[in-house]
Each structure stands twice: as structure tokens, then as C-alpha cells.
């Protein structure tokens, strides 16, 4: 009896064997070998263009569907809930307000309508405030066939549904296993090779090889995420003995940047798999890992960073001064610690394209594993990296002002909104200083003319008395 089932098993085994072999060959030839040598076939960009065309088609169909039902699609930025003004300064808005009131004055003074400015800003923040927006994923104007980005799109026709179903099959059946295999390969290679390189006695050889090994493993990891990265202004790449500063959206930022250069990472020492990777990396190149207790000691942190920076043979340090993950529409306050060290700062702006997969890690909603799974089942991670010209602290500038200057440069380059808020605002309350700032700005609009009005009133009194 058992013999009759044998041939079927044999056939099954053979099929399985062949498909696995094909799979691995494909993986090796098209992905791992190019990653090792740093060569690209351009497949990922072609994939990106095709996807864009498909999304446009899907959006068109949804709009047609909505029109049939005589409703409008909700687009967060084009037709918002309240009449929103584009963010402009207090002075500009006041002038516009006064102009619309039909004022014939030549100089601005207090007007009853000035309250409208504060009123409107207040209502805008009730409907949607900047801080909450930063800690939730960015909304898209058009749908990218991922259920997780579907907030407002309800008119989904049959064809789009079919397309979506096909997309699910492709993403979870083909792309996810491929990416997981690559990620596992990349990480194990990193562990093994860095440990091996760490055994070499010759320091120069060690650093040369460690650079090659790190770059290779990061390239494999980048392919594991199907990350399509465009680097701009590479002539400004960070040099040894400097600090590289970037806006923070996700832990993947590290892989994105390290793909193009070698950095020393700074962070807390973890346990488990992360800890193993950290210890392995340290064997071949200098990274700075702090124990949990040491993190609180600011002097110790500053000293270690300072020592590292002073040694010109060591790689530039990579720091994310926001201290927490922001959703890549804005840049929040930079912590001044890294700007107090006396060295050159190399700002880097990273901007993700959310249409292919939202890279933002909402740590309150997803754990690390869940997040990685979502990343690997998105279409792709597309981002642009700009290397900005190096900056130094100027005479008479303190660390906070320097930090704000760097932040403004990064925000301007990446097209992000420059916010005054602290990333820690998830938990703490707003300081009174901000309210005073608003009052000061408003008084500046009036103040010049209040004093002249007083003089005018005084003169008139004087005339009537005489």
C-alpha cells in the first residue's frame, strides 16, 4: 500500500526542489550579486513607474464611481473641513484682514477685526492640530491600493477591488517572502562578516574591510525593503570628525543613510537580536552604545561624543536630534545636546514618498516586528536624501539657536514644515513662553503706531486747551 503513494510524493518533492532552486538562483543572480558589487539593473525604478501608472488609473476609476453617486471624494489637502489659510506670518495675515475690511488707513492700528486672526487659528487647531498630525501617518491625496492607507476612500468599484486583491496576492505571496529571505541573509552576513573582520590584527586592513562589509550588508538590506533611494548633492557627504544630523521618521533611516557611507551610530545598548548585532558591529568599527543608566548622564554622553569626534580617523557620527519618530511632514524641535559639541555639523534631509508605502513608525500603535512586516508588505520605500553643506556654530550663537538654524535648513530642503514643538509633547504641556511669543508678535504690529497715536492725542489736547 505504501508503495503506491511513493511516486506521487517523488513528483511533489521534485517540483518543490526545482522551484526552490529557481527561486534561489533568481535571488542570487539578480539581487545579491549586484548588492555585493554595488551595481543596479534599474529594475526597481521601472517597477516604481509602473506602480504609479496603476495608481493613477485606480484613482480615476474611483472618482468616476464617486461622480456617479453624486458625491465628492474627500481629499485632505484640497477640500478641507474648514476654510483654512495657508500658514503665513501674523503680520501678513493682519494686513490681509485689514485690507478686506475696506480700511482706508495709511498706518495699521488696533481694529476690532484683529480678533479674527486668533479666532481662525484657534478653530483650525481644534479641527486638526500640528502636534497630533505629526504623530499619525500622513494622509494621501490618492489611494495606493493598500488597505492601511485607506482613510477616506469609499467609492471603490469592482475593477479597483479586483486590482486590490491581485495586489494583495503579489505583495504577500511574492514580495514578502522574497524580502524576508533577503533581510535574513543580510543580517546574518553582517553578523558573521563583522565578527570575522574584527579578528584581523592589522588596523588599516580592518577598517578598509569593515567599510566594504558594512556597505555590502546595508545594500542587501535596502533591497530587502525594496527601497528606491535618490541621493542629492553627494559632494557634501559627511567627513570624518564631524556629526551628521538628520530628521527622524523611522529606524530604517539608518539603513538608508548607511547605504551610501559609513557612519558611527549612537544609541542605547539593547538585548536580544539587536544587542547581538550591536556587539558584532562594534568589533569591526567604532560605534557608541550607551548603557541605559549612562543615557541620563549628559556629561558622559557629551564626553564620549566629543572624544570620538576629536579622532579624525573615526567615521562621522550619525545622530537624530528630534529624539523620536515624526511622520515626515514636519521637523520638530532639535535637542541641543549634539549641537554643543564643537565640530562641524553635516545636515541631511530625508523625505519619503508616501505613495508607495508609509515609512513612519508609529511606536504607540505598532511594535517593531509588526512595523517591519508592514514595511515589507508595502509596494516599496521611496525616498530622497539631500546632503546639505556643512554648518558650524557661529560667534555669539548658542546651541539652541544653532540647532534651530540647522533645523530650518533641513526643513527648507526637504519641503517639510518647520515646527517649534518638542517631540516630547506627546506627553508634556505647552509652555507659556509660546503664548508670550504670539502676544509679542501682535504687539509689534501695533506698537509702533500706539506711541505715535499717543503723541497725536497729546497734541490735540494741547490745541484744544490753548
Amino acid at each position: 500500500m505504501t508503495w503506491s503513494t511513493f511516486p506521487v510524493d517523488n513528483l511533489l518533492c521534485r517540483c518543490l526542489g526545482i522551484s526552490i532552486t529557481v527561486w534561489w538562483t533568481f535571488l542570487f543572480v539578480f539581487i545579491i550579486i549586484p548588492a555585493v558589487f554595488g551595481v543596479s539593473f534599474g529594475m526597481r525604478r521601472f517597477y516604481m513607474r509602473t506602480l504609479l501608472k496603476i495608481f493613477e488609473w485606480a484613482m480615476l476609476r474611483m472618482e468616476m464611481g464617486a461622480k456617479e453617486k453624486n458625491q465628492e471624494l474627500y481629499k485632505p489637502y484640497s477640500n478641507g473641513i474648514i476654510a483654512k489659510e495657508p500658514p503665513s506670518s501674523l503680520q501678513q495675515e493682519m494686513q490681509e484682514l485689514r485690507g478686506s475690511a475696506g480700511c482706508l488707513r495709511s498706518e495699521p492700528e488696533f481694529e476690532m477685526a484683529d480678533i479674527f486672526y486668533f479666532c481662525r487659528r484657534g478653530v483650525e487647531s481644534i479641527v486638526d492640530d500640528e502636534v497630533t498630525k505629526c504623530f499619525s501617518a500622513q494622509e494621501l491625496e490618492s489611494w495606493n491600493l493598500l488597505t492601511r492607507s485607506n482613510y477616506n476612500f469609499r467609492h471603490i468599484s469592482l475593477r479597483v477591488t479586483v486590482l486590490w486583491g491581485f495586489g494583495v496576492l503579489v505583495r504577500y505571496g511574492v514580495l514578502l517572502p522574497l524580502r524576508v529571505t533577503l533581510a535574513v541573509t543580510g543580517i546574518s552576513l553582517l553578523l558573521v562578516l563583522t565578527t570575522l573582520v574584527g579578528f584581523l590584527p592589522n588596523r588599516e586592513l580592518r577598517s578598509f574591510l569593515s567599510e566594504k562589509v558594512h556597505l555590502m550588508c546595508y545594500r542587501i538590506c535596502v533591497r530587502a525593503l525594496t527601497a528606491i533611494i535618490t541621493y542629492h548633492n553627494r559632494e557634501n557627504k559627511p567627513q570624518n570628525g564631524g556629526i551628521c544630523v538628520a530628521n527622524h521618521t523611522t529606524p530604517i533611516d539608518v539603513i538608508i543613510l548607511a547605504n551610501d557611507g559609513c557612519y558611527s551610530l549612537v544609541g542605547q545598548a539593547h538585548g536580544g537580536l539587536m544587542g547581538m548585532i550591536q556587539r558584532a558591529m562594534v568589533k569591526s568599527s567604532p560605534h557608541i552604545w550607551f548603557e541605559r543608566s549612562e543615557v541620563k548622564d549628559r556629561h558622559l554622553v557629551a564626553k564620549r561624543l566629543g572624544d570620538h569626534v576629536a579622532d579624525k580617523t573615526k567615521q562621522p557620527i550619525l545622530i537624530f536630534p528630534e529624539g523620536t519618530c515624526i511622520n515626515n511632514t514636519s521637523v520638530m524641535m532639535f535637542k541641543k545636546g549634539s549641537f554643543e559639541i564643537a565640530c562641524t555639523v553635516y545636515p541631511v534631509a530625508i523625505k519619503y514618498d508616501p505613495r508607495f508605502g508609509d515609512a513612519f513608525w508609529n511606536s504607540s500603535k505598532f511594535g517593531m516586528v509588526n512595523y517591519l512586516l508592514r514595511m515589507m508588505s508595502s509596494w516599496a520605500i521611496v525616498c530622497s536624501v539631500w546632503y546639505l553643506p556643512p554648518m558650524n556654530r557661529e560667534e555669539g550663537e548658542d546651541a539652541v539657536q544653532f540647532a534651530n538654524r540647522v533645523k530650518a535648513a533641513i526643513a527648507a530642503q526637504g519641503g517639510l514644515v518647520d515646527l517649534i514643538w518638542d517631540g516630547g509633547l506627546k506627553r508634556t504641556k505647552v509652555k507659556d513662553a509660546f503664548k508670550e511669543e504670539q502676544q509679542k508678535l501682535y504687539s509689534q504690529v501695533l506698537t509702533l503706531h500706539v506711541s505715535s497715536a499717543l503723541i497725536f492725542a497729546g497734541e490735540i489736547k494741547h490745541q484744544t486747551l490753548c
Binding site: 476654510a83 475690511a101 476690532m112 484657534g122 487647531s125 502676544q439
Partner: protein
């Protein structure tokens, strides 16, 4: 392929609210999600502290006045329909949809907005902005940046210009008139005031 957990069924009297305020279904749903987000202890109603948690409102000089505009006098909580009705004053004009034979003015008309702003000044709801109330608002908007005398003179001038019936307070009609044309004492006016003004003070 629903995305969020709440749907239109959770919103009480959704149809009526949409008619009354002019918000579309998608907008109403967004506002409901925002309401639920602000309602941290899930009571179904908002308290002043819930508004206070919003950063942009906390730094607004008249933030607490805007918050109290949502609460009817004597009430300590605001439910979703009231929340939406207040926000409806600021709906963009372009999304006004024609309703069957409605004669009343749309909720987001200029007059309604002016009324909202008027009530920000007139905290005791007596229909007039007294000198004291005007001073309070000015102090809130300017803080410690100006002296008491400067504040008094600004308030004085504002009342002089707006108060046409000389009762030392600004009524809603006078407030509306000020928005249309604000004549400077020295430049020629377009509109003849109710009482002839003296030339100079």
C-alpha cells in the same frame, strides 16, 4: 473596504446635522473621529480640559475664550452636535450645496462669523461689548507687551470709532459697521455715521 472603526451609524442624527450645518458625510465623519480623539475619557462629551490639551490652542492668546464659545452659558460639557454646529461657522463658502427651499442664511455666512467674533468679546452675553470687556480682550492679545496707559488709549480710540450711539458700549450692529468701513478721523469717510462726529477730539 472600511478603514476606520467608526461609521456614520455611530453619529446621532447624522442626516439632520448634515442638512443643518452643510458638512458632507466625509467631513462629518472626520469631525466625529476628531471629537472622539479629543474626548480622552470617552464620556461622549467634551470638557474645557479636553480642549486645553490642544497645543495650538494653548498658545493662542484668546484660546480660553474660543473654548468657552463652544459651551452654552451654564453648561459644562459640549456634545457632538453642538461641537459641529460651532465649527460649521467656518466651513468654506465653496461647498454650500443648494437645499430645498431654504430661506435662512447659510450657517457659515459672514454675519454668523461676525456674531461668533462678537461673542468672543462679549463674554456676559448682554449683547454689548463694554469698555471693560474690550480691555480684557486687549490685555489677552497683548499680554505684558504694552503698558496700562497704552491699553487704555487703544480701547478709548476703538470705542470712539465704533460707538455710534454714544452709550459707551459697542452693540452688534455697530460692530458690523466697523468691519465694513473703518474711517480714520483725518481721512474722508465713505459712509455717513448716525451722529455727526466732531472734527478732532
Amino acid at each position: 473596504m472600511g478603514s476606520s472603526s467608526s461609521s456614520m451609524d455611530h453619529i446621532p442624527n447624522a442626516e439632520e446635522l448634515m442638512q443643518e450645518t452643510g458638512f458632507s458625510a466625509a467631513h462629518l465623519l472626520r469631525l466625529y473621529e476628531r471629537f472622539e480623539f479629543l474626548d480622552k475619557d470617552q464620556t461622549g462629551e467634551l470638557r474645557p480640559e479636553d480642549f486645553g490639551a490642544i497645543g495650538g490652542l494653548a498658545l493662542n492668546p484668546i484660546g480660553d475664550r474660543i473654548i468657552s464659545a463652544f459651551f452654552s452659558p451654564g453648561q459644562e460639557t459640549v456634545d457632538f452636535p453642538s461641537f459641529v454646529r460651532v465649527l460649521a461657522h467656518f466651513r468654506p463658502n465653496g461647498t454650500n450645496r443648494t437645499r430645498n427651499g431654504t430661506q435662512q442664511e447659510p450657517v457659515n455666512s459672514r454675519t454668523r462669523k461676525l456674531k461668533f467674533a462678537f461673542q468672543l468679546y462679549d463674554q456676559d452675553r448682554d449683547g454689548k461689548i463694554s469698555r471693560a470687556e474690550l480691555l480684557q480682550v486687549l490685555r489677552a492679545m497683548l499680554g505684558i507687551q504694552v503698558t496700562e496707559e497704552q491699553l487704555q488709549s487703544i480701547a478709548e480710540r476703538a470705542i470712539q470709532e465704533a460707538d455710534l450711539d454714544r452709550d459707551d458700549a459697542i452693540s452688534f450692529d455697530e460692530f458690523k459697521k466697523v468691519q465694513q468701513v473703518s474711517p480714520h478721523p483725518q481721512t474722508p469717510t465713505k459712509e455717513t455715521p448716525l451722529h455727526p462726529t466732531e472734527g478732532g477730539r
